[in-house]
Symmetry: C2
DNA sequence: CGTTGAATTGAGGTCACTCAATCGCAGTGG
DNA sequence: CCACTGCGATTGAGTGACCTCAATTCAACG
C-alpha cells in the first residue's frame, strides 16, 4: 500500500471506508455509520517501526487499524520481549487492559499504518445508543481472546518446528483474510518470530532453515515466502477457520 | 467452602447473591438485579475434577463462577495440555471463542464449584436493555485479555524459576481478592503448574524444590504454602494490581 | 566505501526434557 | 489387619533441545 493510498484513506468519511467494501466485514446501517462517523476523532498515520502505544502510558484513545499491520508486545525489566499478538486491518487496538488506566502493552508498526482514532471516554455512549455495535465490540474482544489462547498453546506446548509452522500459517491466513497480501509472503524479521514464540534468535534461524530444507518455505530478505502451506499446516496441527462475516468499528 | 454452603448459594436469588456482598464487586441497581435474575437460567454444581466445558462442543450457555475454582485449557492432538487461565468467583466463563459456534477450550473444576447459568442467545437483549451491564462484560473480557497477555509473557520469556514464582503469586493474589482462601495456601497439583507454564512435570518438581530450599514456599500434600510472597514477587518481577471495584454478572 | 541491520554459521554450555524407579499416602477390598 | 491399587511427589541418570557468545556474510543505504 503506497503512501498516497493511505492519505486517501485518512481523508475518507466512514461511509466510504475502504474496509467496508470488503466481503469479510458485515454491512452497517446508515444510523450506525453516522454514529461511528461522529465517534471517530481522526486518523493516525505512522511509519514502519514507529511505536503506536507505550506500555505504562495513559492513553485516552482506542484505535481501529485501517491499513498496514503491527504487533502488540510486553517487556520484562531486563529487556526480554514477548510479542503477544499481531494487529491487522479491522482490529481494535487499545481495548486490552483496563478500559481506563494505563496500557499494559506496547504496539509497534511492522509497516506504515493508518489507524482510526476514537475516544475511550465516549465508548459508553456507543453502548447506550447502539447495542449492536456494543455487541460487535464484545465479539471482537472474544476473538482476540481466542487467538491469545491459541498462542499460549503454541508457546507453551509446541516444539520449535511446530511453533514456526504455526506462526507463519497464523499470520498468512489472517493477513490474507483482511487483504494485507496477495502473494504468499509474510514480511517480518526473524527476531519478531523469535520474540513471538519464546525462542532465541539463533535457534529460530536454524529452525527456519530446517523448514526451508524441506522445501516448505523460503526466507528472502526481510520476509518469508510460504511454498507449502499444507505441509506447514499439518506440521502445526493447524486448520483454517472458516470466516463468517466479521464486525468492526 | 462446604457442600451445604454451596447448596445455599444455589437456591438464593441474585439479589441475595453472596458475591454481591463482597467489597470487591460493584453495587448494582435494582433494575439490573431484576434483569440478571431473569437472565439467569439456573445453577450448575460440579464436583472437583469434573469437566465443565469441552473443547469442540456447541454450548448454548454462559456461566459466572459463584464458588470454587477451576482452569481453562487446550489440548494438542497427541495429548499435550496447556492450561490457559484459571477461573474464580465472579469470572465469566464461555465468552472466549466465537460467541456462537463451538468452544475453543475446555474447563475443569479444581474444587467443587457452583456456576450461574445464562443463555448466550439472550445475551443481545442484555445489550439492548442494560448498556451498563454490556459495558461490564466488555470490562471483564478486557481484564481476561490482560491476564492472557501476562501469561504469554511468562510462558514465553521467563525462566522456570521466575515462571513458578509468577504463577503462584498470580493465583495467590487472585484467590485472595475473590475470597477463595484466607491462609496463604494454593491447592493444585504440580502437574497443573507444569501444564500452565509449559514445563515438564519433573522439571517443575525440581524448580519447586529449589524455591522450597530458599524458604520461599513449602509444598504440602496437594497444595503449596507461600512463606515469602515478597521474595517470590521480586523474583517474578511481579507487582500486585490495586483493585478497583469490579463488575460481574 | 564505511556503516548498519538482518541473516547465517560454528562452538560450547546448560537448561529443561524423557525415561524409569521409588516413596508415601489414601482408599479399597479381601 | 494387610495386600493391592492409584495418584502425586520425588529422585537419579542420561540426552537433546535450545541457549549464549562470537564471528562472518550479505544487502541496503548514505
Amino acid at each position: 500500500m503506497t503512501k498516497e493510498q493511505e492519505r486517501a484513506h485518512a481523508s475518507l468519511p466512514c461511509e466510504k471506508c475502504p474496509l467496508r467494501k470488503r466481503d469479510l466485514f458485515r454491512d452497517f446501517e446508515q444510523g450506525e455509520l453516522d454514529f461511528i462517523g461522529r465517534f471517530k476523532k481522526g486518523d493516525l498515520a505512522v511509519k514502519k517501526g514507529a511505536t503506536v502505544l507505550v506500555e505504562g502510558a495513559h492513553n485516552p484513545h482506542l484505535y481501529t487499524v485501517l491499513s498496514g499491520w503491527g504487533f502488540r508486545y510486553k517487556l520484562l525489566e531486563d529487556g526480554r520481549r514477548q510479542i503477544v499478538n499481531y494487529v491487522m486491518p479491522g482490529d481494535l487496538v487499545g481495548l486490552q487492559g483496563n478500559l481506563l488506566g494505563e496500557m499494559k502493552h506496547s504496539v509497534e508498526a511492522l509497516s506504515s499504518m493508518v489507524l482510526c482514532v476514537f475516544e475511550k471516554a465516549e465508548l459508553f455512549s456507543l453502548y447506550r445508543e447502539f447495542p449492536e455495535l456494543a455487541y460487535d465490540i464484545t465479539w471482537i474482544a472474544s476473538r482476540e481472546e481466542c487467538m491469545l489462547d491459541d498462542n499460549l498453546l503454541t508457546v507453551g506446548r509446541r516444539t520449535a518446528l511446530e511453533k514456526v509452522a504455526y506462526l507463519l500459517m497464523f499470520i498468512l491466513e489472517r493477513s490474507r483474510q483482511c487483504g494485507l497480501i496477495g502473494n504468499g509472503t509474510v514480511s517480518l524479521t526473524q527476531q519478531h518470530v523469535a520474540d513471538t514464540l519464546g525462542l532465541s534468535l539463533v535457534h529460530t534461524n536454524k529452525t527456519i532453515a530446517r523448514l526451508a530444507e524441506r522445501g516448505f518455505l523460503k526466507w528472502e530478505d526481510g520476509g518469508c515466502r510460504i511454498l507449502n502451506p499444507e505441509a506447514l499446516a499439518e506440521l502445526a496441527d493447524w486448520t483454517a477457520e472458516k470466516v463468517a462475516k466479521r464486525p468492526f468499528l
